[in-house]
Amino acid sequence: MNLTLKIWRQKDAKSKGKFVTYTLENISPNCSFLEMLDILNESLIQKNEEPVVFDHDCREGICGMCSLYINGRPHGPDDAVTACQLHMRKFKDGDTITVEPWRAKPFPVIKDLMVDRTAFDKIIQAGGYISVNTGGAMEANHILIPKPAAELSMDAAACIGCGACVAACKNASAMLFVSAKISQFALLPQGRPEASERVMKMVKMMDDLGFGNCTNTYACEAECPKSISRSNIARMNLEFICAKASWE
Protein backbone atom coordinates (compact mmCIF):
# COMPACT_ATOMS: atom_id res chain seq x y z
CA MET A 1 0.00 0.00 0.00
CA ASN A 2 1.14 3.52 -0.77
CA LEU A 3 -0.03 6.11 1.73
CA THR A 4 0.15 9.82 2.43
CA LEU A 5 0.33 10.72 6.10
CA LYS A 6 -0.53 14.11 7.54
CA ILE A 7 0.91 14.01 11.03
CA TRP A 8 0.75 16.65 13.77
CA ARG A 9 4.30 17.65 14.71
CA GLN A 10 4.90 19.77 17.80
CA LYS A 11 8.35 20.26 19.32
CA ASP A 12 7.17 20.61 22.92
CA ALA A 13 4.21 21.72 25.01
CA LYS A 14 4.93 25.40 24.50
CA SER A 15 5.71 25.32 20.78
CA LYS A 16 3.14 25.85 18.08
CA GLY A 17 2.54 22.66 16.14
CA LYS A 18 1.73 22.02 12.50
CA PHE A 19 0.85 19.19 10.16
CA VAL A 20 3.74 17.64 8.24
CA THR A 21 3.06 15.43 5.21
CA TYR A 22 4.95 12.17 4.69
CA THR A 23 4.62 9.52 1.98
CA LEU A 24 5.08 5.83 2.64
CA GLU A 25 5.41 3.08 0.04
CA ASN A 26 5.02 -0.68 0.10
CA ILE A 27 3.23 -0.88 3.45
CA SER A 28 1.78 -4.32 4.11
CA PRO A 29 -2.01 -4.36 4.70
CA ASN A 30 -1.27 -6.74 7.58
CA CYS A 31 0.79 -4.11 9.38
CA SER A 32 -0.73 -2.65 12.51
CA PHE A 33 -1.13 1.13 12.54
CA LEU A 34 1.67 1.51 15.10
CA GLU A 35 3.98 -0.74 13.05
CA MET A 36 3.31 1.54 10.09
CA LEU A 37 4.38 4.49 12.27
CA ASP A 38 7.49 2.50 13.31
CA ILE A 39 8.39 2.11 9.61
CA LEU A 40 7.91 5.84 9.13
CA ASN A 41 10.12 6.57 12.14
CA GLU A 42 12.89 4.26 10.89
CA SER A 43 12.91 6.09 7.58
CA LEU A 44 13.01 9.45 9.40
CA ILE A 45 15.92 8.31 11.58
CA GLN A 46 17.81 7.15 8.48
CA LYS A 47 17.33 10.63 7.06
CA ASN A 48 18.58 12.18 10.34
CA GLU A 49 15.16 13.61 11.03
CA GLU A 50 13.34 13.63 14.35
CA PRO A 51 11.04 10.58 14.66
CA VAL A 52 7.34 11.06 15.40
CA VAL A 53 6.63 10.72 19.12
CA PHE A 54 3.54 8.71 20.01
CA ASP A 55 2.36 6.79 23.08
CA HIS A 56 2.33 3.00 23.04
CA ASP A 57 3.10 0.16 25.39
CA CYS A 58 1.56 -3.34 25.32
CA ARG A 59 0.39 -3.28 21.70
CA GLU A 60 -2.20 -5.86 22.69
CA GLY A 61 -5.11 -3.47 23.21
CA ILE A 62 -5.18 -3.68 27.00
CA CYS A 63 -2.87 -1.00 28.41
CA GLY A 64 -4.65 2.14 27.19
CA MET A 65 -1.51 3.94 26.09
CA CYS A 66 -2.33 4.50 22.40
CA SER A 67 -3.88 7.90 21.87
CA LEU A 68 -4.12 8.65 18.18
CA TYR A 69 -6.96 10.58 16.56
CA ILE A 70 -7.02 9.08 13.07
CA ASN A 71 -9.11 10.58 10.27
CA GLY A 72 -11.55 12.20 12.69
CA ARG A 73 -11.98 9.25 15.05
CA PRO A 74 -10.11 8.21 18.20
CA HIS A 75 -8.22 4.96 17.49
CA GLY A 76 -9.21 5.19 13.82
CA PRO A 77 -11.95 3.82 11.59
CA ASP A 78 -12.43 0.40 13.22
CA ASP A 79 -14.97 -0.05 16.01
CA ALA A 80 -14.10 -1.19 19.54
CA VAL A 81 -10.33 -1.49 19.03
CA THR A 82 -7.34 0.53 20.16
CA ALA A 83 -4.97 2.05 17.58
CA CYS A 84 -2.45 -0.76 18.20
CA GLN A 85 -5.06 -3.31 17.12
CA LEU A 86 -6.00 -1.31 14.03
CA HIS A 87 -4.57 -2.81 10.85
CA MET A 88 -3.72 -1.11 7.60
CA ARG A 89 -6.19 -3.31 5.70
CA LYS A 90 -8.84 -0.96 7.09
CA PHE A 91 -7.45 1.69 4.71
CA LYS A 92 -7.25 1.78 0.94
CA ASP A 93 -4.17 2.04 -1.26
CA GLY A 94 -3.47 5.72 -1.96
CA ASP A 95 -5.35 6.98 1.12
CA THR A 96 -4.39 10.17 2.91
CA ILE A 97 -4.46 9.58 6.66
CA THR A 98 -4.57 12.49 9.10
CA VAL A 99 -3.18 11.72 12.56
CA GLU A 100 -3.72 14.14 15.45
CA PRO A 101 -3.19 13.96 19.21
CA TRP A 102 -6.15 13.89 21.64
CA ARG A 103 -7.46 17.45 21.86
CA ALA A 104 -8.69 18.56 25.28
CA LYS A 105 -7.65 21.29 27.71
CA PRO A 106 -6.83 18.74 30.48
CA PHE A 107 -4.75 16.67 27.98
CA PRO A 108 -1.96 19.06 26.91
CA VAL A 109 0.33 17.92 24.11
CA ILE A 110 3.78 16.93 25.38
CA LYS A 111 5.32 16.35 21.96
CA ASP A 112 3.92 15.45 18.53
CA LEU A 113 1.15 12.89 19.15
CA MET A 114 1.88 12.31 22.84
CA VAL A 115 -0.45 13.96 25.35
CA ASP A 116 -0.26 14.26 29.12
CA ARG A 117 -3.08 12.16 30.62
CA THR A 118 -2.09 12.75 34.25
CA ALA A 119 -5.55 14.27 34.67
CA PHE A 120 -7.03 10.76 34.69
CA ASP A 121 -4.58 9.69 37.42
CA LYS A 122 -5.64 12.69 39.50
CA ILE A 123 -9.31 11.69 39.17
CA ILE A 124 -8.46 8.14 40.34
CA GLN A 125 -6.39 9.51 43.23
CA ALA A 126 -9.37 11.63 44.29
CA GLY A 127 -11.49 8.56 45.06
CA GLY A 128 -11.20 5.77 42.51
CA TYR A 129 -10.26 3.09 45.02
CA ILE A 130 -11.57 1.18 48.04
CA SER A 131 -9.83 1.49 51.40
CA VAL A 132 -8.96 -1.93 52.84
CA ASN A 133 -6.97 -2.97 55.86
CA THR A 134 -3.87 -4.90 55.01
CA GLY A 135 -3.58 -8.46 56.28
CA GLY A 136 -4.49 -11.93 55.21
CA ALA A 137 -6.73 -12.30 52.17
CA MET A 138 -10.39 -12.80 53.01
CA GLU A 139 -12.27 -15.94 52.09
CA ALA A 140 -13.41 -15.32 48.50
CA ASN A 141 -17.04 -16.23 49.13
CA HIS A 142 -17.35 -14.33 52.41
CA ILE A 143 -19.28 -11.53 50.70
CA LEU A 144 -21.89 -12.82 48.28
CA ILE A 145 -22.28 -10.80 45.08
CA PRO A 146 -25.20 -11.29 42.67
CA LYS A 147 -23.96 -12.50 39.28
CA PRO A 148 -25.60 -9.67 37.24
CA ALA A 149 -23.96 -7.05 39.49
CA ALA A 150 -20.59 -8.78 39.20
CA GLU A 151 -20.89 -8.83 35.42
CA LEU A 152 -21.88 -5.17 35.16
CA SER A 153 -19.02 -4.25 37.47
CA MET A 154 -16.61 -6.26 35.34
CA ASP A 155 -17.91 -4.54 32.19
CA ALA A 156 -17.22 -1.15 33.77
CA ALA A 157 -13.80 -2.31 34.97
CA ALA A 158 -12.86 -3.08 31.35
CA CYS A 159 -12.12 0.65 30.92
CA ILE A 160 -8.42 1.00 30.13
CA GLY A 161 -8.35 4.76 30.69
CA CYS A 162 -7.06 5.58 27.21
CA GLY A 163 -9.00 8.85 26.97
CA ALA A 164 -10.76 8.08 23.68
CA CYS A 165 -14.05 9.12 25.34
CA VAL A 166 -12.65 12.58 26.05
CA ALA A 167 -11.11 12.79 22.57
CA ALA A 168 -14.37 11.81 20.86
CA CYS A 169 -16.72 13.95 22.94
CA LYS A 170 -17.51 17.28 21.29
CA ASN A 171 -17.28 18.80 24.79
CA ALA A 172 -14.09 16.96 25.86
CA SER A 173 -16.09 15.46 28.73
CA ALA A 174 -14.62 12.67 30.85
CA MET A 175 -17.98 11.39 32.07
CA LEU A 176 -17.65 7.90 30.54
CA PHE A 177 -14.24 7.31 32.12
CA VAL A 178 -15.25 8.63 35.54
CA SER A 179 -18.58 6.80 35.47
CA ALA A 180 -16.90 3.50 34.59
CA LYS A 181 -14.48 3.90 37.50
CA ILE A 182 -17.34 4.80 39.86
CA SER A 183 -19.63 2.01 38.60
CA GLN A 184 -17.07 -0.76 39.00
CA PHE A 185 -17.09 -0.07 42.76
CA ALA A 186 -20.65 1.16 43.21
CA LEU A 187 -22.03 -2.16 41.94
CA LEU A 188 -20.10 -4.23 44.48
CA PRO A 189 -20.70 -4.41 48.25
CA GLN A 190 -17.04 -3.60 48.91
CA GLY A 191 -17.48 -0.28 47.14
CA ARG A 192 -20.61 0.85 48.96
CA PRO A 193 -19.13 2.22 52.23
CA GLU A 194 -17.23 4.97 50.38
CA ALA A 195 -19.65 5.34 47.45
CA SER A 196 -20.97 8.82 48.34
CA GLU A 197 -17.55 10.23 49.14
CA ARG A 198 -16.09 8.68 46.00
CA VAL A 199 -18.58 10.12 43.52
CA MET A 200 -18.46 13.60 45.07
CA LYS A 201 -14.66 13.75 45.09
CA MET A 202 -14.12 12.26 41.64
CA VAL A 203 -16.71 14.53 40.01
CA LYS A 204 -15.20 17.57 41.75
CA MET A 205 -11.74 16.65 40.52
CA MET A 206 -13.08 16.06 36.99
CA ASP A 207 -14.64 19.54 37.01
CA ASP A 208 -11.57 21.22 38.57
CA LEU A 209 -9.32 19.77 35.86
CA GLY A 210 -11.39 21.48 33.16
CA PHE A 211 -13.15 18.59 31.42
CA GLY A 212 -16.33 19.58 29.62
CA ASN A 213 -19.93 18.82 30.57
CA CYS A 214 -21.83 15.83 29.21
CA THR A 215 -24.53 16.70 26.67
CA ASN A 216 -25.58 13.08 26.14
CA THR A 217 -24.37 12.82 22.53
CA TYR A 218 -22.80 9.41 23.33
CA ALA A 219 -19.77 9.76 21.02
CA CYS A 220 -17.81 8.42 24.02
CA GLU A 221 -19.70 5.13 23.93
CA ALA A 222 -19.42 4.92 20.12
CA GLU A 223 -15.64 5.33 20.20
CA CYS A 224 -14.70 3.46 23.38
CA PRO A 225 -12.32 0.62 22.43
CA LYS A 226 -13.76 -1.41 25.31
CA SER A 227 -17.42 -0.63 24.52
CA ILE A 228 -18.10 0.90 27.93
CA SER A 229 -21.83 1.60 28.10
CA ARG A 230 -23.35 5.05 28.60
CA SER A 231 -25.58 3.43 31.22
CA ASN A 232 -22.60 3.91 33.54
CA ILE A 233 -23.03 7.67 33.15
CA ALA A 234 -26.68 7.38 34.19
CA ARG A 235 -25.59 5.28 37.17
CA MET A 236 -23.00 7.89 38.16
CA ASN A 237 -25.61 10.65 37.89
CA LEU A 238 -27.94 8.73 40.22
CA GLU A 239 -25.05 7.99 42.60
CA PHE A 240 -24.28 11.72 42.60
CA ILE A 241 -27.90 12.69 43.33
CA CYS A 242 -28.10 10.19 46.21
CA ALA A 243 -24.71 11.31 47.54
CA LYS A 244 -25.69 14.97 47.34
CA ALA A 245 -28.86 14.23 49.29
CA SER A 246 -27.12 12.26 52.00
CA TRP A 247 -23.53 13.55 52.23
CA GLU A 248 -22.77 15.85 55.16
Binding site: K6, W8, F19, Y69, N71, G72, R73, T98, E100, R103, A104, K105, P106, A168, K170, N171, A172, S173, M175, V203, K204, M206, D207, G210, F211, G212, N213, C214, T215, N216, T217, Y218, A219, A222, E223, S229, R230, S231, N232, I233, A234, R235, M236, N237, L238, E239, F240, I241, K244
Partner: protein
Protein backbone atom coordinates in the same frame (compact mmCIF):
# COMPACT_ATOMS: atom_id res chain seq x y z
CA UNK B 1 -27.31 34.27 40.03
CA UNK B 2 -24.80 33.49 37.29
CA UNK B 3 -21.94 33.21 39.84
CA UNK B 4 -23.95 30.64 41.83
CA UNK B 5 -24.71 28.70 38.64
CA UNK B 6 -21.02 28.63 37.73
CA UNK B 7 -20.16 27.13 41.12
CA UNK B 8 -22.52 24.19 40.52
CA UNK B 9 -20.77 20.94 39.64
CA UNK B 10 -21.13 19.69 36.07
CA UNK B 11 -23.66 17.03 37.12
CA UNK B 12 -25.68 19.46 39.29
CA UNK B 13 -26.03 21.76 36.29
CA UNK B 14 -27.21 18.83 34.17
CA UNK B 15 -29.71 17.72 36.83
CA UNK B 16 -31.24 21.21 37.00
CA UNK B 17 -31.25 21.36 33.21
CA UNK B 18 -33.14 18.05 33.11
CA UNK B 19 -35.65 18.94 35.86
CA UNK B 20 -36.43 22.28 34.24
CA UNK B 21 -36.64 20.58 30.85
CA UNK B 22 -39.21 18.06 32.13
CA UNK B 23 -41.20 20.93 33.68
CA UNK B 24 -41.19 22.68 30.29
CA UNK B 25 -42.25 19.43 28.58
CA UNK B 26 -45.31 19.27 30.87
CA UNK B 27 -46.03 22.96 30.23
CA UNK B 28 -46.00 22.31 26.48
CA UNK B 29 -48.78 19.71 26.84
CA UNK B 30 -50.89 22.21 28.85
CA UNK B 31 -50.22 24.92 26.25
CA UNK B 32 -51.13 22.56 23.41
CA UNK B 33 -54.39 21.51 25.05
CA UNK B 34 -55.41 25.20 25.23
CA UNK B 35 -54.24 25.94 21.67
CA UNK B 36 -56.28 23.06 20.31
CA UNK B 37 -59.41 25.00 21.43
CA UNK B 38 -58.64 27.24 18.43
CA UNK B 39 -59.84 24.42 16.21
CA UNK B 40 -63.37 24.86 17.56
CA UNK B 41 -65.45 27.17 15.41
CA UNK B 42 -66.88 28.75 18.57
CA UNK B 43 -64.29 31.35 19.74
CA UNK B 44 -65.61 31.14 23.30
CA UNK B 45 -63.75 27.85 23.86
CA UNK B 46 -60.34 29.44 23.34
CA UNK B 47 -61.18 32.78 24.94
CA UNK B 48 -62.60 31.11 28.06
CA UNK B 49 -59.46 28.96 28.36
CA UNK B 50 -57.25 32.04 27.87
CA UNK B 51 -59.33 33.97 30.42
CA UNK B 52 -58.97 31.12 32.94
CA UNK B 53 -55.19 30.98 32.41
CA UNK B 54 -54.97 34.75 32.77
CA UNK B 55 -57.01 35.09 35.96
CA UNK B 56 -56.58 31.89 37.99
CA UNK B 57 -54.26 32.49 40.96
CA UNK B 58 -52.69 29.02 40.87
CA UNK B 59 -51.89 29.54 37.20
CA UNK B 60 -50.46 32.98 38.01
CA UNK B 61 -48.05 31.43 40.52
CA UNK B 62 -47.05 28.79 37.98
CA UNK B 63 -46.55 31.56 35.43
CA UNK B 64 -43.79 33.02 37.62
CA UNK B 65 -42.28 29.54 38.12
CA UNK B 66 -42.47 28.99 34.36
CA UNK B 67 -40.64 32.23 33.54
CA UNK B 68 -37.99 31.54 36.19
CA UNK B 69 -37.63 27.96 34.96
CA UNK B 70 -37.26 29.01 31.37
CA UNK B 71 -34.67 31.70 32.19
CA UNK B 72 -32.70 29.20 34.30
CA UNK B 73 -32.89 26.54 31.57
CA UNK B 74 -31.51 29.03 29.01
CA UNK B 75 -28.85 30.38 31.40
CA UNK B 76 -27.63 26.88 32.27
CA UNK B 77 -27.62 25.90 28.60
CA UNK B 78 -25.42 28.87 27.73
CA UNK B 79 -23.05 28.28 30.69
CA UNK B 80 -22.69 24.57 29.82
CA UNK B 81 -22.01 25.39 26.18
CA UNK B 82 -19.39 28.06 26.91
CA UNK B 83 -17.62 25.73 29.37
CA UNK B 84 -17.71 22.97 26.76
CA UNK B 85 -16.17 25.21 24.12
CA UNK B 86 -13.43 26.19 26.61
CA UNK B 87 -12.64 22.52 27.29
CA UNK B 88 -11.19 22.11 23.82
CA UNK B 89 -9.16 25.23 23.00
CA UNK B 90 -7.48 23.57 19.99
CA UNK B 91 -9.97 22.03 17.56
CA UNK B 92 -9.37 18.94 15.43
CA UNK B 93 -8.30 19.43 11.82
CA UNK B 94 -10.56 16.59 10.68
CA UNK B 95 -14.11 16.93 11.98
CA UNK B 96 -15.42 14.33 14.37
CA UNK B 97 -16.86 11.38 12.47
CA UNK B 98 -18.19 9.44 15.45
CA UNK B 99 -21.59 7.85 15.06
CA UNK B 100 -23.88 9.85 17.35
CA UNK B 101 -27.54 10.89 17.28
CA UNK B 102 -27.48 13.71 14.69
CA UNK B 103 -29.78 16.11 16.56
CA UNK B 104 -27.90 15.78 19.86
CA UNK B 105 -25.03 17.86 18.47
CA UNK B 106 -27.16 20.91 17.74
CA UNK B 107 -29.12 21.42 20.98
CA UNK B 108 -27.67 24.89 21.62
CA UNK B 109 -28.62 26.01 18.10
CA UNK B 110 -32.14 24.55 18.11
CA UNK B 111 -32.52 26.01 21.62
CA UNK B 112 -31.44 29.43 20.33
CA UNK B 113 -34.04 29.33 17.55
CA UNK B 114 -36.75 28.38 20.07
CA UNK B 115 -35.68 31.29 22.31
CA UNK B 116 -35.92 33.69 19.37
CA UNK B 117 -39.44 32.44 18.61
CA UNK B 118 -40.43 32.76 22.24
CA UNK B 119 -39.49 36.46 22.21
CA UNK B 120 -41.66 36.95 19.08
CA UNK B 121 -44.47 34.88 20.64
CA UNK B 122 -44.44 36.93 23.85
CA UNK B 123 -44.42 40.13 21.79
CA UNK B 124 -47.50 38.92 19.89
CA UNK B 125 -49.58 37.77 22.83
CA UNK B 126 -48.21 38.37 26.31
CA UNK B 127 -47.66 42.12 26.10
CA UNK B 128 -51.26 42.52 24.90
CA UNK B 129 -52.38 40.63 27.99
CA UNK B 130 -50.28 42.96 30.14
CA UNK B 131 -51.82 45.96 28.36
CA UNK B 132 -48.46 47.16 27.05
CA UNK B 133 -49.62 46.95 23.43
CA UNK B 134 -52.86 47.36 21.57
CA UNK B 135 -54.63 44.38 20.04
CA UNK B 136 -58.13 43.03 19.41
CA UNK B 137 -60.23 43.45 22.55
CA UNK B 138 -63.80 42.81 23.66
CA UNK B 139 -66.05 45.73 24.61
CA UNK B 140 -65.17 45.31 28.30
CA UNK B 141 -61.46 45.70 27.44
CA UNK B 142 -60.52 41.99 27.82
CA UNK B 143 -58.07 40.90 25.10
CA UNK B 144 -59.64 38.82 22.33
CA UNK B 145 -56.89 36.22 21.88
CA UNK B 146 -58.93 34.13 19.46
CA UNK B 147 -59.13 37.08 17.06
CA UNK B 148 -55.43 37.78 17.62
CA UNK B 149 -54.61 34.16 16.69
CA UNK B 150 -56.87 34.35 13.62
CA UNK B 151 -55.15 37.59 12.51
CA UNK B 152 -51.68 36.09 12.90
CA UNK B 153 -52.39 32.66 11.40
CA UNK B 154 -54.10 34.26 8.42
CA UNK B 155 -50.67 35.60 7.42
CA UNK B 156 -48.94 32.81 5.39
CA UNK B 157 -45.44 34.06 6.34
CA UNK B 158 -46.24 33.95 10.07
CA UNK B 159 -47.86 30.51 9.77
CA UNK B 160 -44.95 29.12 7.77
CA UNK B 161 -42.48 30.47 10.34
CA UNK B 162 -44.63 28.96 13.10
CA UNK B 163 -44.62 25.56 11.39
CA UNK B 164 -40.85 25.64 10.82
CA UNK B 165 -40.28 26.61 14.44
CA UNK B 166 -42.25 23.66 15.73
CA UNK B 167 -40.26 21.33 13.48
CA UNK B 168 -37.12 22.74 15.14
CA UNK B 169 -38.78 22.29 18.54
CA UNK B 170 -39.45 18.67 17.60
CA UNK B 171 -35.73 18.23 16.85
CA UNK B 172 -34.88 19.76 20.24
CA UNK B 173 -37.37 17.57 22.12
CA UNK B 174 -36.29 14.43 20.27
CA UNK B 175 -32.96 14.48 22.07
CA UNK B 176 -34.08 16.39 25.17
CA UNK B 177 -36.59 13.83 26.41
CA UNK B 178 -34.28 10.85 26.79
CA UNK B 179 -31.32 13.09 27.70
CA UNK B 180 -33.27 14.45 30.69
CA UNK B 181 -33.78 10.93 32.03
CA UNK B 182 -30.12 10.09 31.37
CA UNK B 183 -29.04 13.19 33.33
CA UNK B 184 -31.33 12.22 36.21
CA UNK B 185 -29.74 8.78 36.28
CA UNK B 186 -32.91 6.96 35.29
CA UNK B 187 -31.72 5.58 31.98
CA UNK B 188 -29.92 2.38 32.90
CA UNK B 189 -32.90 0.31 33.93
CA UNK B 190 -35.17 -1.97 31.91
CA UNK B 191 -37.33 1.09 31.21
CA UNK B 192 -34.68 2.91 29.14
CA UNK B 193 -35.99 1.64 25.78
CA UNK B 194 -39.49 2.64 26.83
CA UNK B 195 -38.29 6.16 27.76
CA UNK B 196 -36.48 6.47 24.41
CA UNK B 197 -39.56 5.42 22.41
CA UNK B 198 -41.91 7.63 24.43
CA UNK B 199 -39.53 10.55 23.83
CA UNK B 200 -39.64 10.00 20.07
CA UNK B 201 -43.45 9.82 20.10
CA UNK B 202 -43.66 12.96 22.29
CA UNK B 203 -41.28 14.90 20.02
CA UNK B 204 -43.49 14.10 17.01
CA UNK B 205 -47.01 14.30 18.47
CA UNK B 206 -46.71 17.53 20.48
CA UNK B 207 -45.12 19.69 17.72
CA UNK B 208 -47.57 18.15 15.24
CA UNK B 209 -50.43 19.26 17.49
CA UNK B 210 -49.16 22.83 17.34
CA UNK B 211 -48.52 22.62 13.56
CA UNK B 212 -52.11 21.51 12.83
CA UNK B 213 -53.42 24.90 14.04
CA UNK B 214 -51.81 27.21 11.40
CA UNK B 215 -52.58 24.62 8.71
CA UNK B 216 -56.23 24.69 9.80
CA UNK B 217 -56.35 28.47 9.68
CA UNK B 218 -54.56 28.69 6.33
CA UNK B 219 -56.45 25.97 4.51
CA UNK B 220 -59.81 25.47 6.20
CA UNK B 221 -60.75 28.46 8.34
CA UNK B 222 -60.00 30.99 5.57
CA UNK B 223 -62.25 29.02 3.18
CA UNK B 224 -65.21 29.00 5.61
Amino acid sequence: MSASLLRFSSITKKIWMALLGIFLLIFLVVHLSINLCLLRSDPRWFNDAAHFMGTNYVVKVFEIVLFAGFILHVALGIILQVQNWMSRPVRYAVNNKSTTPFLSKYMIWTGGIILLFLVIHLTNFYIIKLGWASGPRFIDGEPNFYQRAVDLFSQPVYSLGYILLFIVLGFHLNHAFQAAFQSLGLNFTKYSRCIERFGIVYSIVVPLGFIIIPIYFLLIHSAL
